[in-house]
């Protein structure tokens, strides 16, 4: 297909993947919330952009016959925040979506663009780790599925290969229970200093992920096991210690690494109390 000064707007996924594989120095463009800001600052200067928001199959949320929830990559944050089928243990996902930046950014940004950008301060990565997501990606070589904890590799780095894009995020069938996202930030609209994503089923099975404290979301099978068995003060302290030891925060304008380490157990405790209050309600 033809471009306009380097912009392609394909309406099928196969066409988009073909362009990304063949047009030199091309990048996929979704909502623009991160990529256009980076272009404005000339942090990146791609020769061509492939806009994917016209592609119908990448949009919207559907429930598979087995009850799995599939979120298309170009679904906007606002639509995820308002999605009532993301309930019970999956409520952590819309709760996080509704706390991303500001309402206007939530009208633009997409879940695929957000996780592909992999900024460690973002809200979706820890929420999707707690929810047990699997990322479906595609290129001209075909499709594959990547568990969310393997998808995030390093600061701003993912398991995506060149020419590969996120096409959907798969979430397991929600269980009765609670999900919530606790975000500590300086002012409305800012990135998290520390965030806690929590998913807890009625039977006690608990999954926690910490955001803003290292290159990728911090999660631990051991911490999850401790909290799934007990919510005593000792269990909360022990799980907090495990997560804090795994965290690798840095000093930045939002806070010091030491401050972040101090916040993790405190915010974990508050998130667990909030979850208990939410269950009781």
């Amino acid at each position: 297909m033809s471009d306009k000064a380097g912009l392609f707007r394909p309406d099928s996924l196969s066409e988009a993947l073909h362009l990304l594989a063949t047009v030199p120095d091309s990048r996929p463009l979704a909502g623009g919330a991160s990529l256009i800001a980076m272009i404005n600052a000339r942090i990146v200067e791609p020769a061509a952009l492939v806009s994917v928001t016209q592609i119908a199959e990448l949009r919207g949320i559907r429930v598979s016959p087995s009850g799995e929830i599939v979120i298309g990559a170009s679904t906007r944050h606002r639509d995820i925040a308002e999605e009532t089928r993301l309930s019970g243990t999956l409520a952590v996902v819309p709760d996080a979506a509704g706390q991303i930046a500001s309402a206007t950014i939530r009208n633009m940004g997409t879940i695929g663009g957000s996780i592909a950008h992999a900024d460690p301060g973002l809200d979706f990565p820890p929420a999707l780790v707690a929810a047990g997501a699997v990322v479906e990606v595609a290129s001209t070589a075909g499709r594959r599925r990547i568990p969310i904890v393997e998808f995030f590799v390093d600061w701003y780095a993912t398991a995506l290969s060149p020419g590969e894009i996120v096409v959907a995020v798969h979430l397991p069938k929600p269980k009765p229970g609670v999900g919530l996202y606790l975000k500590h930030r300086r002012v409305a609209g800012d990135f998290a200093i520390v965030s806690i994503a929590l998913s807890r089923a009625l039977d006690g099975e608990t999954h926690i992920a910490v955001g803003g404290c290292g290159p990728t979301p911090v999660a631990s099978a051991e911490a999850d096991r401790i909290l799934s068995c007990s919510t005593s003060g000792a269990a909360l302290a022990q799980a907090g210690e495990v997560l804090t030891a795994l965290a690798d925060p840095v000093d930045d304008v939002r806070g010091t690494a030491e401050y972040r380490r101090l916040l993790i157990p405190r915010m974990l405790r508050r998130a667990m109390f909030d979850a208990a209050a939410k269950s009781a309600a």
């Binding site: 909502g31 623009g32 404005n40 609209g189």
Partner: protein, 159 residues
């Protein structure tokens, strides 16, 4: 950089412009089409001064590529100047003195206009949440919030 022709629907009219790959909607609105209500503050999507409506929904003009806006319905404060809801907001802003330098005002008006677009009742928390992506460095926000709440109250009492 290479430029391409783009045909944009702005404020009810078809406007022809020339844009490079990196030219944002904001650049084209301001520099070519002379709709200067949308302001260039941070150019990073943070300050909200460039907020416009695309297909009726508030977006950042600085984070939208002009070439990617073809086929979308763009509205700025200029295009809403005869709209009763926008006029009511503007009157409340004046009555309440909801600005000092006024650089943020068009973005505030667009966000408030979108908030008041449904018949749903609006409280102070809704206003604060809706305007949280619009920075004002002069007013401390109090008068802006009062102005939007006043318009919301007038709307509900039918004034």
């Amino acid at each position: 950089m290479e430029k391409a022709s783009v045909s944009l629907q702005v404020n009810g009219a078809t406007c022809e412009a020339q844009a490079t790959l990196y030219d944002t909607l904001l650049t084209v609105l301001r520099d070519q089409l002379l709709f200067t209500s949308a302001k260039r503050g941070c150019n990073q999507g943070v300050c909200g001064a460039c907020t416009v409506l695309a297909d009726g929904v508030p977006v950042r003009a600085c984070l939208s590529l002009a070439l990617d806006c073809e086929g979308r319905r763009i509205e700025t404060v200029e295009g809403l100047s005869a709209n009763p809801r926008m006029q009511a907001l503007q009157r409340s802003f004046i009555r309440r003195g909801a600005f000092q330098c006024a650089f943020c005002t068009p973005g505030m008006l667009i966000s408030a206009y979108a908030l008041l677009g449904s018949d749903r009742p609006v409280n102070e928390a809704d206003v604060r949440k809706s305007l949280s992506g619009n920075l004002c460095r002069c007013t401390g926000y109090k008068k802006i919030i009062e102005a939007v709440l006043e318009t919301a109250g007038d709307r509900r009492s039918g004034r």
